[in-house]
């Protein structure tokens, strides 16, 4: 039974519980993203040198995110929470298109397609959870703007196969990276806010 059965009035999930769920989801999403990337890399990218071109290619690069522990610990928790929200939002659109476009890849294994569908779904759930968390931590402060627009759809649909495969590679590379960031930041925030940095 969900802790707060839908429709129940005045029932609120504790912040600790919300974080537990969010961290489970973010861990799961990154694991899937990592598996999907590795599977795609093994099957479609060997020897093509895609990694050299994927550098500096993420649509979320414009979001300034902490790059190491010190930076992550110095940033205020509200700013880090909002940053997580922005990164998650920035992936709504590309994940939606990834699900439809993956099916056009030649002999795309079902496992890649299944993961794309699962990630898209769980990303939405995580975003909902994060909005609840921000709502509790900083009531009245939920931004809705999408900061980094994704314009990669045309490249996923290109006729030239090499270019199209590189577009997929780059997207999956960025998804693996950003999902790891989100997971790392959420685990840090959970320890800070729920366990007083004493996990």
């Amino acid at each position: 039974l969900p802790i707060c059965p839908s429709g129940s009035v005045g029932c609120q999930v504790s912040l600790g519980n919300l974080f537990d769920r969010a961290v489970k989801l973010s861990h799961y999403i990154h694991s899937l993203s990592s598996e999907m990337f590795n599977e795609f890399d093994e099957r479609y990218a060997q020897g093509r040198g895609f990694i050299t071109k994927a550098i500096n290619g993420c649509h979320t690069s414009s979001l300034t995110t902490p790059e190491d522990k010190e930076q992550a610990q110095q940033i205020h928790h509200e700013d880090l929470l909002n940053l997580v929200l922005r990164v998650l939002r920035a992936w709504n659109d590309p994940l939606l298109h990834l699900v439809s476009e993956v099916q056009s890849i030649k002999e795309a294994p079902d496992t890649i397609l299944w993961k794309a569908v699962e990630i898209e779904e769980q990303n939405k759930r995580l975003l909902e959870g994060m909005e609840k968390i921000v709502g509790q931590v900083h009531p009245g402060e939920i931004e809705n703007e999408v900061y980094s627009r994704w314009s990669g759809l045309p490249s996923l649909q290109m006729a030239d196969e090499d270019s199209r495969l590189f577009a997929f590679y780059s997207l999956l590379h960025c998804l693996r990276r950003d999902s790891h960031k989100i997971d790392n930041y959420l685990k840090l925030l959970k320890c800070r806010l729920i366990h007083d940095s004493n996990c």
């Binding site: 694991s31 050299t52 500096n56 995110t65 790059e67 522990k69 790891h180 685990k187 996990c199």
Partner: protein, 210 residues
């Protein structure tokens, strides 16, 4: 003769805050040969040299916290140079995010305890590797134990998640046991096994308690 081509063997981060790379020299052409590690980092066109050739021993480069960024690709090459010429390794692309392998856990202790209900159990306790910042949540570690009778061959392996102690109830009185523990970050590689710890289960433990 100019030196042979060096090869970047491996890079590893023990705690997601620093990392080290090791390389294998090629042939030295019979002449004194010098090795230089060059790197560039995603988002920065400049090329830098290894900040520290000493800390991690021969044929290695240690990147301290100041020189370590996550979620960014490092393009790393090694250049071998002697009087006759030089040779450069294949470039390797490294993201510290995906090369995390912690050190083993420490201070594994074993103790036979009697529970409140009088039942005896073997309590195993350990600590995260000292370098790992688990408290702040920067690093999340999971643990696996293994145990076997001293003269036995088969290890019994137990995955215990994030906890740092474990109670075992299936004890054989009079037996001597060996135990080890190792750990893995939430996303990364298992560490080596810890050093072995031993315990002799008292013979006088009443069988009905086991």
């Amino acid at each position: 003769q100019p030196p042979g081509r060096p090869e970047l063997l491996r890079c590893r981060s023990p705690e997601k805050e620093t990392f080290t790379c090791w390389w294998k020299p090629g042939s030295d052409g019979g002449l004194p040969t010098n090795y230089t590690l060059f790197y560039s980092k995603e988002g920065d066109k400049s090329i830098y040299e290894c900040p520290d050739y000493r800390t991690a021993g021969p044929n290695s480069c240690y990147f301290d916290k100041k020189h370590t960024s996550l979620w960014a690709i490092y393009n790393i090459t090694i250049k071998a140079t002697n009087k006759m010429g030089s040779n450069i390794s294949e470039p390797q692309y490294v993201d510290v995010t995906y090369i995390v392998q912690p050190d083993p856990p420490v201070n594994l202790s074993l103790e036979v305890k009697k529970q409140v209900d009088g039942k005896p159990c073997l309590l195993l306790k350990w600590y995260p590797p000292p370098l790992a910042d688990v408290k702040s949540g920067w690093l999340t570690l999971e643990y696996k134990l293994r145990l076997k009778p001293e003269e036995g061959d088969e290890w019994e392996t137990i995955f215990v998640g994030q906890q740092t102690q474990y109670k075992l109830f299936s004890l054989n009185p009079g037996k001597k046991y060996i135990a080890q523990v190792h750990c893995k970050p939430d996303h990364g590689e298992w560490s080596e096994w810890s050093s072995e710890s031993y315990i002799q289960i008292p013979s006088d433990i009443e069988l009905k308690d086991v």
